[in-house]
């Protein structure tokens, strides 16, 4: 009789074992925490450690009760604060994505059309900021934007302005921070898409009567659609839940859902409400993530 490896006796092949590992990882560090958060979102605030009521409880002798508290969710929809924060987050994320596209598309296009030697250098420049921590880079922006910061000092010394501009703690500073931080996430997938483009198609379009901008609009833009969508999702999805940048650069009015989450969790110790916020945020983003996945699948399948 052939000796069967242990794993195979349980119906697991070696290949399956390799695939199992990432699944275990996701199980342990995504699904389990998610279930815990989901559980907490159905609890009530309690003066205890941890500060919420248990989900399953012996209420009287021989009765095990499961208590699902939907009040947290109802609360989120009744208090205008949360809805506004959600809407504001979506608005900020949307505008940031748009700004990233406006800045990033020409950059990705330029990199894709440059010579291979310069191309690597330019790509390095895009990736280089990742070598420093995000926090440090956001703090650097404070130094640039504050009243006696670099930008104001330069503008005053040149004589363009006489009084420092208020830039820090404004929506402007927040958008600058978000666009700056997320730009590489838009450029890289877009570059990967544009790099595959057959530039002769543009010559063909011109040959058939298109001016260069028409050729861009009719050929390049539709062909880079997947790159645009993929890059936009990579900016939009994390930007909705962004906390650090609005907290450090945005003013007190920068009411975003990440900030609410923080406040509920740490200031109010309202873990159930914070969890409900987190679950809602996730539900909001799932369609976008699925969309992103389908774009990625299409892109790797090579069809447009």
């Amino acid at each position: 009789m052939r000796r069967v490896p242990l794993a195979e006796r349980f119906g697991i092949s070696g290949r399956g074992l390799v695939a199992l590992l990432p699944y275990l990882w996701l199980m342990l560090f995504f699904v389990v925490p998610f279930v815990i958060v989901l559980k907490i979102s159905f609890a009530d605030v309690d003066l205890a450690i941890p500060p919420y009521t248990p989900l399953v409880q012996w209420t009287e002798k021989n009765v095990l009760a499961i208590k699902l508290n939907f009040n947290n969710y109802e609360f989120l929809f009744t208090d205008k604060l949360y809805i506004n924060a959600f809407l504001n987050s979506i608005k900020v994320a949307f505008l940031s994505t748009l700004l990233c596209l406006i800045v990033g598309y020409p950059m990705a296009y330029g990199i894709a059309r440059s010579k291979p030697t310069t191309r690597n250098f330019l790509l390095l420049l895009v990736i280089l900021p990742f070598w420093t921590s995000l926090l440090l880079r956001v703090y650097a922006w404070i130094g640039l934007l504050k009243a006696n910061g670099v930008i104001n000092n330069v503008l005053i010394s040149v004589g363009l302005i006489h009084e420092p501009l208020t830039m820090l703690y404004t929506p402007f500073a927040m958008y600058v921070g978000i666009v700056y931080s997320y730009l590489p996430f838009l450029i890289l997938p877009l570059y990967a898409n544009l790099e595959k483009m057959d530039w002769q198609l543009l010559e063909a379009a011109e040959d058939l009567g298109c001016k260069p901008w028409q050729a861009f609009y009719k050929i390049t833009l539709p062909l880079s659609r997947n790159g645009i969508l993929a890059g936009s999702m990579l900016v939009f999805i994390p930007a909705v839940g962004e906390f650090v940048i609005p907290a450090l650069l945005g003013g007190p009015n920068a009411l975003m859902i990440g900030r609410i989450l923080w406040d509920e969790f740490f200031s109010n110790r309202a873990w159930p409400v914070a969890s409900a916020v987190a679950i809602l945020l996730l539900l909001l983003l799932v369609p976008f993530m699925m969309w992103y996945q389908s774009i990625q699948a299409r892109e790797s399948a090579g069809t447009r």
Binding site: L201, E203, A204, D207, L208
Partner: protein, 385 residues
């Protein structure tokens, strides 16, 4: 401008025969001292050329000879460093591609992958704001013409190589350009399909009367397609003429060698008369007698080129002494319709001979056999460079 579909099919111009022999014929495309430099490199070097209406003109040359650059200048994708380009009498030198009455069929076909066949073909017409109904009609006519009537809704990646080639052709012809440029039009097709497509291309060109300029590195393709061939080397057109002129009367060693296979014997002019010349060739080990005069300095070094199919091979000695050598068969390649023999002369020179296999039971000449090689006095072409 709603012209009926039939009007695209024009009668052939009367001068189709040989307009290039008529000094008064008006050139349809005229290149006037065109030079294109990239840095220090002259990709195209002082090319002047006239192409006539209804021609299929082939630019033939090895890769890097400048033929594609020349074609791209005709299309407007490159601007000449100096010189002027006229198409149908108009100066087109600095006109961008989208304003030229010229279309190009790209080597990679460059079909738009996000559009189906119909949209690809309709693209240029839409760009010109042709009325919708007319676009539909012209696209349908064109697709029928290239036998793709049923493939209109397919995307390019759902087509075979031959079908893609025909879509590209339809797309570049549907605008009824004055001049169609084709960059290696059959390069991506396999041999059988290529031969078939060559003849289709010729009949299509015949029907539409559009002037074609074709770039190719494949001499067989050029010979089949072209009304005239321009052989290019190092950015220059070294000879332009009909396929048979190029083949039978090459003007230089380069052209003789580039088109088909040839045996070239270096020698010295020893007799230079108006009616004949005699060349002593140490390389051949015999004298070559040519029954026409040539213009060269006496005692000049010349080269006599003899095509392999014009060399006779026999076991019995033919009449000599001119144009006859003896050698041993070194190698035989049997190709079915003909056989190629490599015959080594006592001087070491190897001569290539092709013989048609006209009989199924011909007496076989085998390896190492001693044979006589000879040729007619009219066969050698004498070139001086």
């Amino acid at each position: 401008m709603a012209t009926p579909e039939g009007s695209a099919i024009k009668a052939l111009p009367a001068a189709k025969a040989t307009p290039w022999t008529d000094p008064n014929a008006k050139a349809y495309v005229q290149l006037d001292h065109i030079t294109k430099s990239f840095g220090d490199l002259k990709a195209v070097d002082d090319v002047s050329l006239k192409i006539y209406k209804g021609e299929i003109f082939c630019l033939l040359g090895a890769s890097g000879c400048g033929k594609t650059t020349l074609l791209r200048m005709l299309g407007g994708f490159e601007t000449p460093s100096s010189g002027r380009i006229f198409i149908d009498g108009e100066d087109m030198t600095g006109v961008p591609p989208y304003e030229r009455p010229v279309n190009m069929m790209f080597q990679s076909y460059a079909l738009f992958p996000h559009m189906n066949v119909e949209q690809n073909v309709a693209f240029g017409l839409k760009q010109d704001r042709v009325p919708k109904a007319e676009i539909k009609e012209r696209v349908a006519t064109m697709l029928d013409l290239v036998k793709l009537g049923d493939f209109g809704k397919r995307k390019p990646d759902q087509l075979s190589g031959g079908q893609r080639q025909r879509v590209a052709l339809a797309r570049s012809l549907v605008k009824r350009p004055k001049l169609l440029l084709l960059d290696e039009p059959l390069g991506a097709l396999d041999k059988k399909l290529r031969e078939h497509t060559q003849f289709e291309l010729i009949s299509l060109q015949d029907k539409l009367g559009v002037t074609f300029v074709v770039v190719t590195h494949d001499q067989e393709e050029a010979m089949t397609l072209a009304s005239r061939i321009g052989v290019m080397n190092h950015g220059e057109i070294v000879q332009a003429g009909t396929p048979s002129e190029i083949y039978e009367f090459p003007s230089s060693k380069f052209v003789a060698d580039f088109i088909g296979s040839v045996n070239i014997f270096e020698g010295k002019l020893i007799e230079d008369e108006p009616e004949y010349v005699r060349i002593a060739s140490p390389e051949l080990g015999a004298t070559i007698y040519v029954s026409h005069g040539i213009s060269a300095a006496p005692e000049a070094t010349v080269w006599a080129a003899v095509r392999p199919e014009k060399v006779f091979m026999s076991t019995a000695p033919p009449e000599g002494p001119d144009n006859v050598v003896r050698g041993a068969v070194q190698d035989i390649a049997y190709l079915g319709d003909l056989s190629i023999y490599l015959v080594k002369l006592p001087t070491g020179k190897v001569v290539r001979v092709t013989q048609p296999n006209t009989s199924r039971h011909a007496e076989a000449i085998s390896w190492d056999q001693q044979v006589y090689l000879s040729w007619d006095a009219t066969s050698p072409v004498v070139v001086t460079r």
